[in-house]
Amino acid sequence: MSGRARSARRHQNNQELHPYVHGTLDRESLESLAPDMQVDALGTFCPEPVIRTQNRMAHAKPGEIAMLLADDVGVEIDIPAWCLSTGNEYLGLLKAEVGYKVFVRRLCNKRPQP
């Protein structure tokens, strides 16, 4: 294994989950969810995963669930914050083979939506 690969792997191992806001669903429920849409932000950095989520959710109906695929470790704090700010529901996050799967439910509310 090259020095370069060793460096990159050490970095990945440090990326443990950091609980900022807990989702409303437990792990088991998240694993059995059937999302209505998928947002692929793999390979992108902040704020791109949030931008893609917000743009996709702008066209979602109340109750619909989006699953964000992302490998930017920041999504674990950005998406809950975005949900708190916009009044959408943060369901939770699963570690995936590559990065994370983050689940968000569109809620019907009176706040102005982006």
Binding site: G3, R4, R6, N14, Q15, P47, W82, S85, G87, P114
Partner: protein, 347 residues
């Protein structure tokens, strides 16, 4: 029933913009916070490279944090593609201390905000600007220029300094109460901190003199070098690469970027398309990207410099790997030990 007044606010998540939004909320104004992503945000750079002191704790996006705390929806607007050619490369009002076109930047963002205001039927726009706080963009003449050139004119409200400025339309029409706005000016943040205490806003980033890479002397030097050699044929990826690593110009159009740590290694991995890669297999090593068409001499220099920054720097010779498109190979080189040679190449 009176009409609900709705306003758009520029929200960076810093103390001033957070306070401005909170002041509007206190006057029962419905607020949507806009956060513009220019590609030059220092916070984005920190986020990309990770938190070196605490890797388990990623840097947060302050605009989203402020939105979450105040329950104000935040919309992030991606302006990277337009921002570079229209603002950074062609600023009507010139640059500040680095390559920072602060006045043009404000105008551009507020023009975009005005368009959104008109499309979606918002009443006015506000910002957290404070009179006299920044030497380039927050003096009185630039504040007037920004309002005028953005097309917002008197529809632009600066709640923190409003009572030091002419009455705006939101005040004149009674959408907001001028008496409940503020007369803050200057560089001190004391009054803002008192106001934050009043509103029980306790979690905000410490004022750090700006949130943009462009005023930074080192970044500006790399950007000027880039423009001098590549003209205006610039992509957002090129700009992203200027944010990290040690940069060396090997010859006219050939330049190398050497990562400084694990975070930058991971970051550079994403920019290998169209660039040559150089690294050391036998020791922990930086990843080096080479741009342009390197000659054999350029490639050898890139290998020597990469070896110098690897853990094999004190070895007599180091085998260095390289890959360029479909081709790859290995050169055994003497690590560069000559600081004068290195500094002559450093951008």
């Amino acid at each position: 029933m009176s009409e609900q007044i709705r306003a758009l606010g520029l929200l960076s998540g810093g103390l001033d913009s957070t306070l401005a939004a909170r002041v509007m909320q206190a006057q029962n104004v419905e607020v949507l916070g806009l956060h513009f992503s220019t590609g030059f945000c220092l916070a984005d750079r920190h986020r990309i490279l990770g938190n070196r002191s605490n890797p388990d704790k990623p840097y947060r996006n302050e605009a989203l944090r402020a939105g979450a705390d105040l329950k104000i929806p935040i919309e992030i607007i991606d302006i990277k593609d337009e921002y570079l050619p229209e603002v950074v490369l062609n600023p009507k009002f010139g640059y500040g201390s680095g390559m920072n076109p602060c006045i043009d930047c404000r105008i551009f963002m507020l023009q975009k905000t005005r368009e959104i205001m008109e499309e979606r039927g918002y009443h006015f726009v506000f910002t957290g600007e404070v009179l006299g706080q920044r030497p380039m963009s927050q003096r009185r003449p630039p504040l007037d220029d920004v309002a005028e050139e953005s097309g917002l004119g008197r529809l632009l409200l600066r709640p923190l300094s409003a009572r030091l400025l002419p009455e705006s339309i939101p005040e004149e029409r009674g959408w907001v109460d001028r008496e409940k706005l503020f007369n803050i000016s200057g560089r001190s943040r004391k009054k803002q901190m008192e106001l934050a205490n009043h509103f029980k806003i306790i979690d905000y980033p410490q004022p750090a003199g700006g949130c943009c890479s462009l005023p930074d002397e080192n970044y500006a030097r790399k950007l000027r070098d880039f423009l001098a050699h590549r003209g205006t044929d610039v992509t957002p990826d090129d700009m992203m690469l200027l944010k990290v690593g040690r940069h060396f110009r090997l010859s006219g159009d050939v330049k190398m970027v050497v990562s400084r740590d694990q975070g930058e290694n991971t970051y550079l991995e994403r920019f290998t398309q169209g660039r040559s890669e150089v690294w050391v297999d036998d020791f922990p090593s930086p990843l080096t990207l080479v741009e342009g068409q390197p000659t054999a001499i350029d490639l050898e220099t890139a290998c020597r410099i990469t070896a110098r920054y690897s853990d094999g720097r004190h070895e007599r010779t180091v085998p260095v790997r390289w890959r360029s498109g479909e081709s790859e190979g290995q050169l055994t080189v003497v690590p560069c030990q000559n600081d004068t040679e290195l500094e002559a190449l450093r951008i």
